[in-house]
């Protein structure tokens, strides 16, 4: 599966696309595939302050419930209402229409580039 090289990644299988001071967050295709069909998203509230590594929401698939982890410290500024209404977008387009939320990152998060993330999942 092709991994976008213009994104950064976390070991919790999330991707981050940064543009200016705004970052868009989603889960990787690897994670979406492992979850199975996503049927419910519980995303952090707009305005919430989140802390890297802490659970900030839930992703529920037919078979399981997984925590959504904050990829970085910062403030949530937007959530993807389309994905909340149609959680299957996380499966069909995890790097695009299935994005989860936007945040303003504070500080310097500890992230993986595509090569490092690919190596990480290859070992998983």
């Amino acid at each position: 599966m092709s991994l976008p090289t213009d994104l950064m990644y976390t070991s919790d299988h999330e991707w981050i696309a940064s543009e200016g001071d705004l970052s868009t967050v989603g889960v990787t295709a690897h994670a979406a595939d492992a979850l199975g069909d996503v049927v419910y998203l519980d995303l952090p509230a707009v305005g919430a302050t989140i802390k890297a590594g802490d659970a900030c929401g839930e992703i529920e698939s037919t078979k399981s419930v997984s925590d959504l982890f904050a990829p970085a410290d910062g403030e949530v500024v937007d959530i993807n209402e389309a994905a909340v209404a149609e959680p299957g977008l996380v499966n069909t387009d995890p790097f695009g229409a299935g994005w989860l939320f936007r945040m303003r990152i504070t500080g310097t998060p500890d992230l993986l580039d595509a090569t490092a993330y690919a190596a990480f999942t290859a070992g998983a």
Binding site: G36, D37, V39, Y40, E60, T62, G88
Partner: protein, 366 residues
């Protein structure tokens, strides 16, 4: 290393995601478990169930031996028919739920859950002692392919040399299917009409490919264990380890009808089950339905909506793909089990209303 079924290479070709299940590497899904679920409800699906355990019993006293060993009365099953039954402990607790096929006057095939096959084998071995009966674990001699869904009779009719409409629900017989000798049974675990094809492991790939080739015209898709679980849940069918455990009796699970009392010679667990029948179970298995999208899941607490007191526990639950709302099975006190009863389910800290509803959640149109 988990065991691979004879169909493993086909699953790889089809791009399956695998899961380790009771020592086997089994397909969890091929594409999307929701797509697979809907295919079985509207057309058909093909499943590899080779992990199931097959135990063959034969001999002049095999019927009586099984009457003593199980809660049902296998001696009364007609040749070529099947019954759902259970193996219980002396305490009445369920050790496994089984399908018992009578293949011939003096030969039965008992199909056990993969994770319980060794327990069933050793218990049966002990319990048939003294009857002129031999027992063999034939799990390695069978591959099992299920074809389930409304179009499955059309698919199987094109391939089998038997009059499929004459094969009744819960019947089994030898057939030649796709030029292979098989046992063809009209059984399943999805709530739909369907077939289970027992074939030799070396024939499994040919049978699968033939069914798939014909099935394409009938909407058949390969299906994994993920959708099998949501299908059986909607159909209100219990799963061993969740609804059924050694801590539950058939009466608790609402399956008292499978227990036959008064068989000559009695059966293991009879005294305990008679007591449970007479006292009535203190907790029973119920269906729960709720609104929204967050499903009650295995182990979640069920609470009294007035006091917040814990009154029961969810055994299985999911957002029902067919119905579009969460459904679950749970054990509740008998006096809280009437349909219409409102309860709360603790869904990871937030309490959501659910209502007791009759089982099954889904019933196919006849």
């Amino acid at each position: 290393m988990p065991k691979k079924t004879p169909l493993h290479d086909i699953h790889m070709e089809l791009g399956a995601s695998f899961t380790d299940f009771a020592g086997w590497s089994m397909p969890l899904r091929y594409t999307s478990e929701l797509v697979e679920h809907h295919a079985v409800r509207t057309a058909a699906g093909i499943f590899d169930l080779t992990h199931m355990g097959e135990i063959e019993l034969s001999g002049p006293e095999v019927g009586r031996a099984l009457d003593h060993a199980l809660v049902g009365r296998p001696s009364k099953i007609a040749v070529g028919r099947a019954r759902y039954s259970m193996l219980v402990h002396e305490t009445g607790g369920v050790l496994d739920d089984l399908v018992v096929y009578r293949l011939a006057e003096e030969m039965y095939l008992v199909v056990a859950n993969a994770g319980n096959t060794l327990v069933v084998l050793s218990q049966l071995r002990d319990r048939i002692d003294g009857y002129v009966t031999t027992i063999r674990d034939t799990s390695g001699e069978w591959a099992l392919i299920a074809v389930q869904g409304a179009t499955s009779p059309a698919i199987v009719s094109e391939l089998a040399d038997v009059e499929v409409p004459l094969l009744k629900y819960y019947a089994i017989g030898p057939a030649r299917l796709a030029d292979r000798e098989v046992l063809l049974a009209r059984t399943g675990y999805t709530g739909e009409d369907g077939f289970e094809i027992y074939c030799r492991p070396e024939d499994a790939m040919a049978v699968w490919r033939s069914v798939s080739a014909v099935g394409v015209r009938h909407g058949l898709v390969p299906c994994g264990l993920a959708c099998r679980d949501t299908l059986r849940l909607e159909a209100g069918m219990p799963l061993y380890g969740q609804e059924l455990t050694v801590g539950t009796t058939p009466f608790d699970a609402g399956l008292g009808r499978v227990v036959v009392f008064g068989k000559p010679g009695g059966f293991v667990g009879e005294a305990a089950l008679a007591a449970r029948r007479d006292e009535g179970p203190t907790r029973v298995l119920v269906g729960l339905a709720s609104t929204g999208r967050r499903a009650p899941r295995t182990g979640y607490a069920v609470l009294d909506p007035d006091t917040g007191e814990r009154i029961g526990e969810v055994t299985s639950g999911a957002l029902s793909p067919t119905l579009g709302h969460p459904v679950a099975m749970a054990y509740l006190p008998t006096d809280r089990s009437e349909p219409g009863t409102k309860v709360l389910v603790d869904i990871r800290g937030s309490q959501e209303y659910a209502e007791v509803v009759p089982l099954p959640f889904y019933r196919r149109r006849a």
